[in-house]
Symmetry: C2
Subunit: 228 residues, 2 copies
DNA sequence: TGTCGATATGACCATTCGGTCAACTCTGTT
DNA sequence: AACAGAGTTGACCGAATGGTCATATCGACA
């Protein structure tokens, strides 16, 4: 069992990781029903039988991928309290979410496809963990509003705004590339977009930017970089 | 051919409309590959053969639906010039897009599913018409920035922000309903969300609200309505 | 009544679907 | 060399896939 096939990885671990990555791509592209085990196998460069040998079934594979994505999401979250600085918290949220989208675009799309079909596999998560997380954050935002630290906007809609604005750059990548006529979004694009979102959203709900950031400088970066 | 089967509608027109509506639901839910003609037929309450008799093939049906959605989108757009009022234009755009999302949620999801799989059927549209539309608007936004009517934000990212924030309420409806624990988004929810988006985005990029709107009143609506 | 084009649909086809299974190879241990 | 267990894979299964076609029914006009 301890061969030297691949550096530091047993056969099982190596193949499973290849399969998971391939499956994430295919599921993200075509959804659960639209993805075939055959297509996943070809993307992984393995025979179909071998894929099923490792993952058991199409359904198990899909659930595994969803759980992995939810784990990434959960790992990104940190708790906040009403004594934290609103600007820092909001900006941190935007940047974290954008980083997640950037680092796992296929996973983001997988999640989007799952929600598009009505989230049949994620009902429990949405009504449970995630709902509580949103509620908790919403309460803090409301306290900030009462204290005059931000405009009295509905905190839930604000969270969804941040979610959608960041998620968009993974899910609709094809549209963005088509319209901007690019082959791919580079690191500088992501930096510019993130700065843009931080500026508009913080200013838009009346939050003072956290002190370590000179928001005027962001304009320069955005303007000097990519205005097509 | 002129029977009295159904009020003001020939057999063909009536059946085609039933099929299109059913197909939009199924394609939106499961994507192109994941949708089966059988499932569409069942949703339409017709035998599979009958569906194919009217629409020819699965592919033609899908293309028809995409074209219908693009036509709706194009019908929504009005031209703008640099002499128009930025606040009016931006708010008009947000409200139009939100209305489109509200009136055609299945169509919006269909579009999302198409883009998720890389927009294979929409390459031409994205690189052509839509790209020119975005460019034209971006130029106007830039002129406004130069005139000091708005912050010097990247106009393309601004358009995508509006697109994503509005699109989200169709595509991720399942997530929103799950988190907010509702059965459906009502008319009042959509009004509140639209007002919220107008407030944050206009303020966020430094645009003075158009005069006929008292933006302070929007807070009241938002706050008084739904704060969970 | 007979005719004709539009409508309707079950039977059928080749292909692909998810999944099973038996047979096989490979590798490390005895 | 013999064995064991993990890894590998082609053959195969019943069901579902998109699509065709022959046949049957319908309503309008002669």
């Amino acid at each position: 069992m301890t061969s030297m096939n691949s550096p530091e990885l047993g056969t099982r671990a190596r193949n499973e990781s290849v399969i998971l990555e391939a499956a994430e791509r295919v599921f993200a592209c075509h959804g659960y029903r639209g993805a075939s085990v055959q297509a996943i196998a070809e993307a992984a460069g393995l025979p179909k039988s071998n894929v099923l040998y490792y993952v058991g079934s199409k359904r198990k594979l899909y659930v595994t991928l969803l759980e992995r994505m939810m784990a990434r999401w959960n790992a990104m979250l940190d708790d906040i309290g009403e004594d934290d600085d609103p600007g820092e918290v909001l900006e941190g949220f935007i940047r974290s979410k954008m980083r997640l989208t950037r680092q796992h675009p296929q996973g983001s799309r997988l999640f989007a496809a799952e929600v598009l079909q009505g989230a049949p596999f994620l009902q429990e998560y949405l009504h449970g963990e995630l709902r509580e997380w949103v509620r908790a954050r919403a309460r803090v935002f409301e306290r900030w509003s009462e204290k005059g630290l931000m405009d009295p906007v509905d905190p839930v809609w604000l969270i969804f705004l941040i979610w959608s604005a960041t998620q968009h750059y993974a899910d609709f990548e094809a549209q963005i590339l088509g319209i901007t006529d690019q082959a791919a979004l580079g690191e500088s694009d992501y930096r510019a977009i993130t700065d843009f979102l931080c500026h508009v959203i913080l200013k838009g709900c009346g939050v003072r930017p956290s002190s370590d950031v000179d928001s005027e400088r962001h304009y320069q970066v955005i303007q000097g970089k990519e205005t097509t």
